[in-house]
């Protein structure tokens, strides 16, 4: 696409996309640090993650303001319109990813205060997978790579399956020793947060696809069966 006749329009579009990229980078960084805090039992790093969420919230507000202004003043059409609508949705999705990362960090503070457990490593592995997909979807956004977006979208089932495995593992653990129920619940919440981040990542992939192709990716994404509901 060439430049707009009104060059200030281009500046606005670039500004919105730059904010989205910044939000993406920040959310990615928060998740990565939160996982590190879980792995290394580092409450200080966890607290830093909690602080960084404020910046992400502020950026979301900025994207909303900018995109609303562009829609009101410039009446974007076609690809430009899709970009603005997607920016609004992506900003709110990235903000939620940030919230979930912050929640993981909060639980990391707790985990650091109790005795280490074996399940933490499975969770860190699941976290690495989730983080990898988030990084990839942000790359797909920057390079407008729909093939990559579709592949991430299809791969979320792996995260779902990891979640189910962790769920079973932690429940077994809690049944063996009821004194670990408090700790086990924290681990389940972390795993659930990661699973939600995976879902949000597929939503970002759908947005990338929509921006480029102008049509929705569809809703027949391969999904893991929610644990405990099999056969219902």
């Amino acid at each position: 696409m060439g430049p707009h006749i009104v060059s200030a329009f281009d500046d606005d579009l670039i500004a919105v996309q730059a904010r989205i990229s910044e939000m993406g980078g920040l959310a990615e960084d928060m998740l990565s640090s939160a996982l590190e805090a879980v792995k290394n039992r580092d409450p200080q790093l966890a607290n830093e993650v909690i602080m960084r969420d404020k910046r992400l919230d502020a950026l979301e507000m900025q994207v909303e303001e900018l995109a609303t202004r562009v829609i009101a003043l410039r009446q974007p059409m076609a690809g430009d319109l899709r970009l603005m609508i997607s920016a609004l949705k992506m900003a709110s999705t990235l903000e939620r990813i940030g919230d979930l990362a912050k929640n993981i960090a909060r639980r990391a503070v707790y985990l650091a205060s109790v005795r280490p457990v074996k399940v933490s490593t499975s969770i860190v592995r699941m976290g690495t997978q989730t983080l990898g997909q988030l990084t990839e979807v942000l790359d797909a956004y920057t390079s407008r790579d729909t093939d990559l977006a579709v592949s991430i979208w299809q791969r979320d089932i792996e995260v779902d399956e990891m979640y189910n495995a962790i769920f079973r593992e932690v429940v077994t653990y809690m049944m063996e020793d009821p004194r670990t129920i408090g700790l086990g619940s924290q681990l389940l919440f972390i795993a659930k947060n990661l699973e939600r981040i995976g879902d949000h990542t597929t939503h970002l992939a759908e947005m990338v696809y929509y921006i480029v192709e102008g049509e929705p990716l569809g809703d027949d994404r391969p999904k893991g069966e929610p644990i405990g509901l099999e056969g219902l």
Binding site: I5, Q75, M77, A78, G214
Partner: protein, 265 residues
């Protein structure tokens, strides 16, 4: 939000009112329209958009043979109205124009009373038998053009005394007084303020219940708001023709994309 609701309706069952096939227009040596195929559906607003000089008005004027009035203009190809060739020798252009009415860019009321502006068409085409019938046609046309309330107490006053927006609605009332089947509008709102524009747009949507409406507009937002079908003209050809919703959210042709997003150099 009448417009939105109407846009959602299914276009598939609408029948063709006008089918244009392989239409070329020449002004002397200038080849203004090149091999254009467009269908105008009944009860549908079709918008023609495109940069200045792309041929959209020229093509619009082919649909009721307004180009006949230009000596050097030559039209080839086929334009069928309900299956009949409008360029056939047996077709009287005046009768054709009563069936395919037109509203122009600038309001152009006759220098006559409001009443006579509307009564002129039905009188010369012999559509009414007596004064009572004529009164009825005048009132009905003014009502349908949403100007009755403003005009009913001053029917004997000159049409030129109305405001710009009122004059344009008067011209629309005049165009529909002959009970046309198709209404052609060449930038009907370009001289109007936003309120008058909104009134005309609301009116266009109402008129669609009975006519096929074709509108040429430079306002992309207007095309998006009022039409269900859009044809994008570029350098005398139709670059893209499709559902308005698709043209404005996901155009296929690169030229359409560039134009509607404001990227035309």
């Amino acid at each position: 939000m009448t417009n939105m609701r109407m846009t959602e309706k299914n276009l598939k069952d609408r029948e063709n009112k006008i089918s244009a096939k392989g239409v070329d227009v020449f002004y002397g040596d200038t080849h203004a329209i090149k091999d254009v195929d467009v269908n105008i559906l009944n009860n549908t607003v079709t918008a023609f958009i495109g940069p200045s000089g792309c041929g959209k008005s020229t093509f619009l004027r082919c649909l009721n043979r307004m180009n006949d009035t230009i000596d050097i203009a030559r039209v080839t190809g086929q334009i069928l109205l309900d299956g009949d060739d409008i360029y056939d020798k047996s077709v009287d252009p005046v009768t054709l124009r009563a069936r395919v009415g037109m509203v122009f860019q600038k309001p152009n009321p006759f220098p006559k009373s409001i009443y006579d502006n509307i009564a002129y068409g039905p009188r010369i085409h012999g559509l009414v038998n007596n004064k009572a019938e004529l009164d009825e046609v005048v009132e009905k046309s003014l009502r349908r053009a949403a100007i009755w309330d403003e005009a009913k107490d001053r029917l004997d006053q000159p049409g030129t005394g109305l405001s710009g927006g009122q004059q344009q609605r008067l011209c629309i009332a005049r165009a529909i007084a002959t009970a046309p089947e198709v209404l052609l509008m060449d930038e009907p709102c370009s001289a109007l303020d936003p309120i008058a524009t909104a009134q005309i747009e609301e009116l266009i949507d109402e008129l669609r219940q009975d006519f096929a409406v074709v509108i040429v507009t430079h306002s992309m937002q207007q095309a998006a708001r009022v039409s269900q079908k859009t044809a994008f003209f570029h350098l005398g050809v139709v670059a893209e023709y499709g559902d308005t919703n698709q043209i404005f959210t996901n155009p296929v042709d690169k030229r359409t994309q560039d134009y509607i997003t404001g990227r035309f150099g």
